[in-house]
Symmetry: C2
Subunit: 279 residues, 2 copies
């Protein structure tokens, strides 16, 4: 496996950053992550657009323009030659002079095998717990996961799959996933505020709008207890049905038909993205 | 200059972490920082106690017990042999298997020259601005400075020295410093909640209690506008008088006598710490 770092492609085991880097000194950096199948990166333009947005929000400047970055990504994909995988692009605050203020950012691109959710998880649905918290600067995909990782212990103790953030009962997102509910009237809703603009979230909103009412809106904890269905979305996980929240079942405690139909729609949309880019 | 990393002391320019480290992947880690003069680390036990506390809060385990860690620190100080400097100990989430959950932590110890506040800053005092924010898990000294560094641009634009966090008008701390006011009745107060337990903060509380009333309490933004004096404290900065907040002068807009007397007391306490440890 190979990694891009310090402006060159090197064997992954040789990808090191000096400890002066601001990610190590101050946890300062942004990143993005997308899936690859048979050499094709799904929805690449969307992911790159978000990556540049995150960098801008955090006052970091990506060293390459999008076309040059795409070309590096393509070289890496070709060199690694793995059928199904994920690519992570990290942009750190760079080798800071004073250990605090960002310098010229370091760009790192790594490729990984993917761990997809099991069939059981999708068929049975999962339990989630909740936590009062809002990410700093939520529209930026920063590398700061202090709270998310700190909560991993609680998730394990509660035998839950993930933890949903809320503030004053208004829910926002999971540490690494977006959140949706289906209301009693079949409206598909995802939180409008204080969330990362997930690419899967965007695709699901588009797919849902074809068949149902779909909107970005305010979702309270109480709305979830009265929802018909609930699910989470992410690049790796696609859609995972949520059937239990803080020990209370949602509806009949089973994955709902709208969640599963949107998952089928998403898989079809991925295929369409491959076809469009082959033409 | 030398650095301790991967269980050995190496030339500082060779101190690298593999990009799999959780500080680079997820900004996950804790650290601490203390001053050295002529081979003597000031208040070392206090700093180490806090370092182990931070690690525990973040579910990380320091590979060495305190005595072994002290011995490494002493070896590094001896090898580097710099009269006046600072030592930073970083404990990261380690080389994570899945890029999310902590593994065996990586311990890094670096030594740096110190940039002390100028005489002008101490004699004239500084302006601060304010920001609605509370650090995640404030009693842990994590490496997460996303918000603090993000605000550096605003600090510069407002020609300020630092930014004070508050929530619903109750103030807590600066990104890297603690905060104190002197009330009209000469009570020296520092925020009781949502703060890092600074070692300088602790020392100032002790010194202040000898001469004045000193307490940990609730300080609102309004309290600051009506304070007699205000100042910030940190390991590197000791005490810096604050004379202006959001374009409003505090009292007469000059450093106050109690702030300056506590600064003199702190310098004397540092000398005492050297003497006690020489015996």
């Amino acid at each position: 496996m190979y990694t891009y770092i310090h402006n060159e492609i090197v064997p992954a085991e040789k990808a090191f950053l000096h400890v002066r880097d601001l990610s190590i000194q101050r946890g300062y950096g942004v990143f993005d992550f997308f899936k690859i199948k048979d050499g094709h990166p799904y929805f690449l333009n969307d992911y790159l657009e978000r990556f540049y947005h995150s960098a801008k929000v955090m006052h970091l400047s990506v060293p390459q323009p999008p076309d040059a970055l795409k070309s590096i990504i393509c070289q890496l994909i070709e060199k690694n030659n793995i059928a199904e995988s994920g690519i992570k692009i990290i942009l750190t605050g760079g080798y800071s002079e004073d250990g605090y203020l960002p310098s010229d950012p370091n760009l790192i691109i790594t490729q990984h095998s993917l761990i997809l959710p099991s069939e059981e998880v999708v068929n049975k649905g999962v339990k989630i717990i909740t936590q009062d918290y809002v990410r700093d600067l939520p529209t930026a995909k920063t590398i700061n996961y202090s709270m998310g990782i700190w909560l991993a212990k609680k998730i394990k103790e509660e035998l839950a799959y993930d933890v949903l953030y809320h503030q004053n009962n208004v829910v926002s997102e999971f540490p690494r996933c977006n959140f949706f509910i289906v209301r009693k009237d079949d409206t598909v809703v995802t939180p409008i505020d204080r969330v990362l603009n997930g690419i899967t979230r965007k695709n699901i909103l588009k797919l849902a709008a074809n068949k149902y009412n779909a909107e970005e809106g305010i979702i309270t904890l109480d709305d979830i207890y009265h929802a018909k269905e609930a699910f989470l979305t992410s690049t790796t996980k696609r859609i995972v049905p949520i059937v239990e929240i803080n020990d209370t079942f949602i509806n009949n405690g089973k994955p709902g038909p709208i969640s599963l139909s949107l998952l089928a729609g998403l898989k079809a949309l991925e295929q369409q993205d491959v076809r469009l880019n082959k033409q």
